[in-house]
Symmetry: D2
Subunit: 342 residues, 4 copies
């Protein structure tokens, strides 16, 4: 932590800050400068110490600002965990050297619809089947999902096809139920800072698919992962799905694709991109999915629907089976070029 | 709903769109124009119909875009509810003609700390006491609140002082517990789209203090209120607490004060401003609290702490008791000028 | 400048950084820490040195990040200029203790329209008349202003009424022309970083009304002011006019009212708020104008038009003469309460 | 244009709106609905008519909102210009089927530095040389470029190497000067709405490299292009270079890569991506440059410097010659795979 003094701060003010730091149990390091003084606290501080120190010191006379010198996350930090994590779920490995496609409809609508989607996803060559049983919907009047019935359909379809499944859980008290039926638990963008849910997700020891919140900074995103990791569960997959846009009239979100190399540099966890929510428009899914591969993502999550025009939710961003197949062909081609196994 | 055709769309394409609308059970109204045709669906559509129609129609050949003509919220709409809601909690009325101050520390830290804060809040003339027992914290390593013990302290302090209380509940399964100890249930900014929580909050029939999410549009905010209202609970207080900022280096959020007259115009519910989180800096709380009054807010929520430098959370935005008193004096003065009762 | 080393940086890497700093002509100060080392450069650095040092040092092995310790502006900094600036134009003083209203139409459309507007502005009690002769318009097909003819009208109306005038100049080569006809030169939001214009505006020695760009940080805004000040022209008025919004459907911009106390704290220059552009909606101008007063602004700029429905630009945000009068009455009342002279 | 009436608007209010539209010279089309009425104006309106009509109609009693049905740009619209534009500069063709790399230093610092950079750029296989003679700098204390001397160096180096050149022009009055020395005129992000500059750039008939402003919507960006095109100059290259970020601590901007397919769909002009400014960090340039190719961009602009540590501006985002070469190799490989000619 560095305390920067105001221009013209007096020696008494500098001494007072140094004195308070000593009283707080740390050794201050005074850096005299040409036009102002800075004071460092070389020790590493706990999160609560930081907050308390910042409150105390920034309120002192003569202090201009207080800045932090280290990143707040530890378990989600590549500095502490140099080796990349590969999340393994049955025969699927998500991590370096592979590119995993998570495909399927936004919502599970019926056994027939979901099995149909699964067969198409599988035939096209994708390994993980997505589908929502519990749907977070902006309006209370929108379709809210089939709930438990949806989970049972997911399980049955998974058993029949052998596909690994991922589905969203929206609250901590539902984690154990969803975990019974589904392979990977998804935490949605709007739940990224639902802390009781993050803790239960961590305790479940299931692989967690964590979506970035629409206005989350990288630090906030990695601290959400840290919540899960801090429960002893190392299997977290990060998902970039777009941030709040400057312009909502052509796309729903702004896909922050540069977050892929940023996250890969600072964190050891696999990173997956969701171009369906990231753009909100079916026709932009293909270019953004392929761009994600080249940017270094470990996979993409893509919405498809046996008949998008009949979809009960998010139909305008879902690919048709034919479009999904075409995308898989292009992904396969590019994976060959990039030497990634699908 | 209006479907705008592309420039040069053929008569066949226009007819096809009209035909599909008829098949969907609605009567299309074709608007021929100089350089392009638009087609209206005059009937009002349900939320799911909208989504499905938009998916179907926007995918048709010759269609340029599909736009909605009405706001998606009904119960939270002043068009449907012209009379302003006053939320009453014991002797406190929150609504037109009054200005209610919600004061207190970020977190309940101990009985002594909270009683001390309550006495100061009461002596300064505020009517509602705030304090967190469950704290949503960005980092898992930060103080997470006293939980049930905190709730008990809140209840005890409320009994001793007679102050109305508000405290956050973070998940649906905790609503009934928090509702036992606290007068008003707060739903935090990061939980604004925690839909299971919104539904349980609605069912509790307790007054709900709903904070706007940091990147929530006005429609999303009012739809979150709609979730609560749709459970038959009319007692929702809306709280503006700042949106994601362009610049994080001087304030933590951008307080969107113009949302006050916008919300008051489109919605019948009372609106309260939180300048403590809205700026994140103690010294800007006073000007923004007073500005909120003039902008038409029904109250403010202000963090204070018996000793901000000892606060276990958010110390840098909390007022000292002396600053809080000074603010209350200014609020009292301005309320006199504006003819608002405190 | 502080260089924070990576976790586990070797002693050799720390020494190498210290060595490079010495070679660059500065004395490094090494701060050993528990889990990582930081290295300070206590000397104050020029802007170019900072950039070069940051590039050099951040590329060195073992370096985690490089942070600046001081604000980049000097002439626009209250630390260096503790006394508040009052900008004086004829009999109008813009600064502490006063509240100046800048009123008038978006565009000068004709002599009659502008004189009519001026008479109304004056009768209502405002001191400065605004009106655009050169209009920056998003579309090339929109009304672009009367140009030189508009300037002449401004001058003539100013001579007849005695009102101080402000009008926008859009390029450096037009500064001397506009300066001939107008009292205060406005630099629009979209020109905030038009650096040749800022320099010419500074050289003109005229008072400069500088609008904040829609995505400008506080530092960028004050550095734009610094451009003007660095030419020896101390008469800059800062104008907050809204930043890019989260939600464009209810207001055009998000008025960042907390920037008023922020700017007043860090900079000595007067601050004026433009609630007309800041919201883009006539009915929100009144609450936001009054809120600006309470927040500490030194004035407001308000669009009015003799007949907004006939306005050639931005009609939907202009007040009618009657609304403008009503607003002036409320401003007068509140100014009395706040002990500000109009 | 569609006028949506309020819920419960009276027949008189609907009639009044229809009457006003008739008086304005257009035929209203009333769309009765279940719970509210909408009124269409089928004729296409000019930009000024739109603004005036919106002001008039939105102020009428009973009106809820007024929405536009068509895009405001024409010359920059693929609807009107279905065939993609290829911009040709000497032997370089920028458009479909090719991928053009614009490389070079941020600033021209000296003849030797610039010639050195040019030789490296050429040896690595890039076709266009970039370099700033006039530098828009946030701070007045930063290096502002060599100005005319810089232009002369650019010309001389272009003559010696045969490379096509691009350089920024910052004001309308400098267009003819810069146009004498440089092949392609760049309009920087901060000048995107410098309308006098856009008009002069259009008149020059030179190819224009137009960067998107940091908070510009797609419509605003295409209207800026429209300014140039409306002068009869069809040779505009659009450049995506990042928008205002949610988080400034890991990258300087958020590269909005999905804008590439959006722009390509709605506009016939070539689109180039600038990953150097788009991220602000040298190590993220490579993944974002390659992702741009796959996303459908027609080229990339990449900053490189013979010695980034000695760069007088933006050193931390420039590639070293070695990194630039490695990037060119990867671009060449991927271009082969994608069947694009370099």
């Amino acid at each position: 932590m560095i305390i920067v003094m105001q221009l013209g701060a007096t020696q008494e003010q500098v001494d007072a800050v140094a004195h308070v730091i000593k009283n707080l149990g740390h050794e201050p390091l005074v850096l005299p400068g040409e036009d102002r003084v800075a004071i460092g606290i070389p020790d590493s501080l706990g999160q609560d110490e930081r907050i308390r120190f910042e409150a105390i010191l920034s309120a002192m006379e003569g202090v201009s600002k207080v800045t932090q010198t280290s990143r707040p996350y530890k378990l989600a930090s590549r500095e502490f965990h140099p080796q990349s994590t590969t999340v393994r779920v049955r025969d699927v490995a998500i991590g370096p050297g592979t590119f995993t496609v998570f495909g399927g409809p936004c919502s599970v609508e019926s056994y027939d619809q979901f099995l149909g989607a699964a067969r198409m996803v599988q035939a096209a060559g994708a390994k993980v089947l997505r589908g929502g049983a519990f749907k977070p919907r902006t309006s209370p009047y929108s379709f809210q999902g089939l709930a438990l019935e949806g989970l049972k359909i997911i399980k049955q379809v998974s058993d029949e096809t052998g596909l690994v499944t991922v589905s969203e859980v929206m609250s901590g008290d539902m984690v154990s139920v969803v975990a019974e039926y589904v392979d990977i638990l998804q935490i949605g963008a709007r739940s990224m800072q639902n802390f009781p849910l993050l803790i239960e997700a961590g305790r479940s020891m299931k692989p967690i698919f964590l979506k970035r919140g629409p206005s989350a900074t990288i630090d906030e995103f990695l601290l959400a992962a840290e919540y899960v990791l801090s429960q002893g569960n190392p299997n977290v997959i990060l998902c970039e799905r777009g941030v709040v846009p400057i312009d909502r009239s052509y796309t729903r979100n702004t896909l922050d694709l540069a977050s892929v190399p940023v996250l890969k540099e600072y964190c050891q966890l696999p990173v997956v991109v969701d171009p369906s929510h990231g753009t909100g428009v079916a026709k932009y899914v293909q270019p953004m999915a392929l761009a994600s591969m080249v940017a270094g993502a470990d996979g993409v999550m893509v919405e498809m629907h046996p008949d998008p025009r009949e979809a009960l939710s998010d139909g305008s961003q879902a690919l048709t089976p034919k479009q999904f197949e075409a995308l898989m062909d292009q992904i396969r081609g590019l994976a060959g070029y990039l030497e990634l196994s699908l």
